[in-house]
């Protein structure tokens, strides 16, 4: 029998993997993908709760998360392309203009 | 094994489902094979030639000859490619094309002359999110091309892959929006419901604009002329499959033709009444014909065949359009038009015309 806990644990693991990815990778694109991964693990939590609490609000929320993710990706990728055009790299450790 | 058990097993829905899967798969593969022959024949006719006629009567065994040739040719894997994706790409290309067919109803529910106790639906899976399923799977089809193009490590292939991804995304939007009209009329996402609802009227009539958009977008989605930019041979050698040979090339080839078949089937289901007969006269008014379980199937196959013919016909008649024209058409003309279509449909539904 699969319980809510199973899904929550899975979602926690995936989320942590995403967090690690954001912290250790250099490529802005991969970091971006890891953020998407984190968003998805949260979506999973939402849907699992929605199923086990007999409420559809979670699924509606996922719908909104999805649209926000789409908008974010579109703008984010445009920014990455722009950075690449100017600096010929997408490695975040080489794009540290915003420092003191 | 005793007879009763056999019948028991045969009547199990699971068994029927498995049988359906195999039949459909076989039919598609068979059609793909003969579609290639058909294409060559029709193109020959259009160009005032005769076409293949050496292998078998009227060249009917040509597909088998081609198959044998493909299998026995040397399978070249160039050194500079990314091996994993190079090998995976053709498979990724063909799977979605076949998967899509799972939700298309190809006949009315039947008991096969009373052999079965309960009528079985001639459809592998009746999902309540059928159309979404089609779009979801169809949107995965692009990966085969993109990954194949990238893995080949060849600039022509890469360009082909890039073009196809941009093209797919552009046209998927107008395609999805065009279908909205159908959804609004049917009030359901399930393809079985949509076909059932077309009893009153084929959707091609009330949804003609949507139909046009959908058909053109389907051409673009299947990379057929006049939208075959990903493999435009005059510019990109052979596009994404430049580096492919032997059976891997054959799989791309099969993917393209299966895509055509699926697209035709979906168009038939959404706009041309699916397995329903002609909109006038029911089953030609004959009670005998009405009883025949294969009549809907026949109607369905006829319509799909006609659409396949149109696909080929268009390919050998129209020139290829430029890439910027393609993009302009998709974003600046079809997108607004499909929105307009939704608006019109919505207004007409509000006014109880539909």
């Amino acid at each position: 029998m699969i319980t809510l806990t199973h899904y929550l644990v899975l979602s926690g693991i995936i989320f942590t993997i995403g967090v690690i990815g954001v912290m250790v990778r250099r490529s802005a694109l991969v970091i971006f993908m890891c953020i998407e991964l984190m968003l998805n693990s949260v979506n999973l939590t939402f849907i699992a709760f929605s199923r086990y609490l007999n409420s559809l609000d979670g699924q509606v929320f996922v719908f909104f998360v999805l649209s926000v993710a789409a908008a974010e990706v579109v703008v984010g990728l445009a920014i990455i392309i722009l950075i690449f055009r100017n600096k010929a790299t997408v490695n975040v450790d080489e794009i540290n203009l915003m420092k003191w | 094994m005793n007879r009763a058990l056999l019948i028991q097993i045969l009547k199990n829905p699971w068994t029927i489902n498995v049988i359906e899967i195999f039949v459909v798969f076989g039919m598609i593969m068979f059609t793909v094979a003969y579609l290639s022959l058909l294409e060559r024949k029709i193109s020959a006719r259009i160009q005032y030639r005769i076409g293949p006629n050496r292998v078998g009567p009227f060249g009917l065994l040509q597909p088998f000859a081609d198959g044998i040739k493909f299998i026995f040719k040397e399978d070249i894997i160039p050194n500079h490619v990314n091996k994993v994706f190079y090998v995976l790409a053709p498979a990724i290309a063909i799977v979605p094309a076949l998967l899509t067919f799972a939700v298309v109803p190809f006949g009315s529910p039947t008991t096969f002359f009373g052999i079965l106790d309960e009528p079985v639906r001639l459809q592998i899976a009746d999902l309540n999110v059928g159309i979404l399923y089609i779009f979801a799977i169809a949107s995965l089809g692009v990966y085969g091309i993109v990954l194949g193009g990238w893995a080949s490590n060849n600039k022509y292939s890469l360009l082909g892959g890039l073009r196809s991804s941009a093209q797919m995304i552009s046209y998927e939007i107008s395609m999805g929006l065009a279908v909205m009209g159908v959804l609004m009329m049917a009030g359901s996402l399930s393809l079985a419901d949509i076909v059932k609802d077309q009893e009153r009227c084929w959707y091609i009539f009330p949804q003609f604009l949507g139909f046009l958009i959908f058909v053109v977008a389907a051409f673009a989605e299947t990379n057929r002329l006049p939208f075959d930019l990903p493999e435009a041979d005059s510019e990109l050698v052979a596009g994404y499959h430049t580096e492919y040979s032997s059976m891997k090339f054959a799989m791309f080839f099969m993917a393209e033709y299966s895509n055509m078949i699926t697209a035709s089937a979906v168009i038939v289901t959404l706009y041309l009444g699916g397995w329903q007969g002609l909109p006038v006269g029911g089953w030609m008014g004959l009670p005998i014909v009405d009883k025949l379980w294969f009549m809907p199937l026949a109607w369905f196959c006829t319509k799909v065949a006609f659409l396949l013919f149109v696909f080929i016909w268009v390919r050998w008649t129209l020139p290829r359009c430029r890439y910027d024209q393609l993009m302009k058409l998709g974003w600046k003309i079809f997108l607004p038009l499909s929105l307009l279509n939704i608006l019109i449909t919505g207004v007409l539904i509000m006014m109880d015309v539909y």
Binding site: T5, V24, S50, Y52, Q59, F63 | -
Partner: protein, 172 residues
């Protein structure tokens, strides 16, 4: 039984592909791993009776967003990433350690909420089926209770489109 098997299958696929995403150096491999993760998630959603979300998960994430990612990777012709974080070794160590602590805390939190169920909603599986299926009910929710956020979403998308076009445009 079948549910259990499928859950472990999809969960395993999701975890393995997520790990691949973080550990492989080739950006295309990463992207493909992520696609696999998304598809596994869609499978989990189906197990959870969220058919609509499963379909749009594939449609939007796997079909659109990841195509864009691949498109950008190919457009920029990104090569393999060199040894990751050669400059910030300590960062890597601390990062992973912290993430593990975070995971432990999340587990602790999960174990503490387990069993403590809040109010149960009205949308049980039977009620949804009676009301016309998952998609229909979600659609109705979106256009009634969540109408305002739904409309705001469309504004968000428009803004994103305009922003992307503006950013992507070459300066004449």
């Amino acid at each position: 039984m079948l549910e259990t098997v499928l859950f472990y299958f999809f969960a395993g696929a999701a975890i393995i592909s997520a790990l691949m995403l973080v550990m492989r150096k080739n950006p295309v491999t990463c992207a493909v791993s992520l696609i696999i993760t998304f598809i596994s998630f869609a499978g989990l959603y189906i197990l959870l009776n969220a058919h609509f979300i499963a379909a749009i998960q594939i449609l939007v994430y796997a079909g659109a967003i990841m195509v864009l990612f691949l498109f950008v990777i190919m457009l920029l012709d990104l090569k393999r990433e060199e040894d990751f974080l050669s400059r910030l070794k300590a960062q890597k160590f601390f990062g992973i350690a912290l993430a593990v602590i975070l995971l432990a805390e999340v587990f602790a939190a999960i174990s503490s909420i387990n069993g403590m169920f809040l109010t149960r909603g009205i949308y049980s599986a039977e009620n949804i089926a009676e009301a016309g299926g998952n998609t229909k009910v979600i659609g109705r929710l979106l256009f009634t209770d969540y109408l305002l956020p739904f409309e705001v979403t469309s504004i968000l998308l428009i803004v994103a489109i305009i922003g992307a076009v503006f950013l992507g445009k070459k300066e004449n």
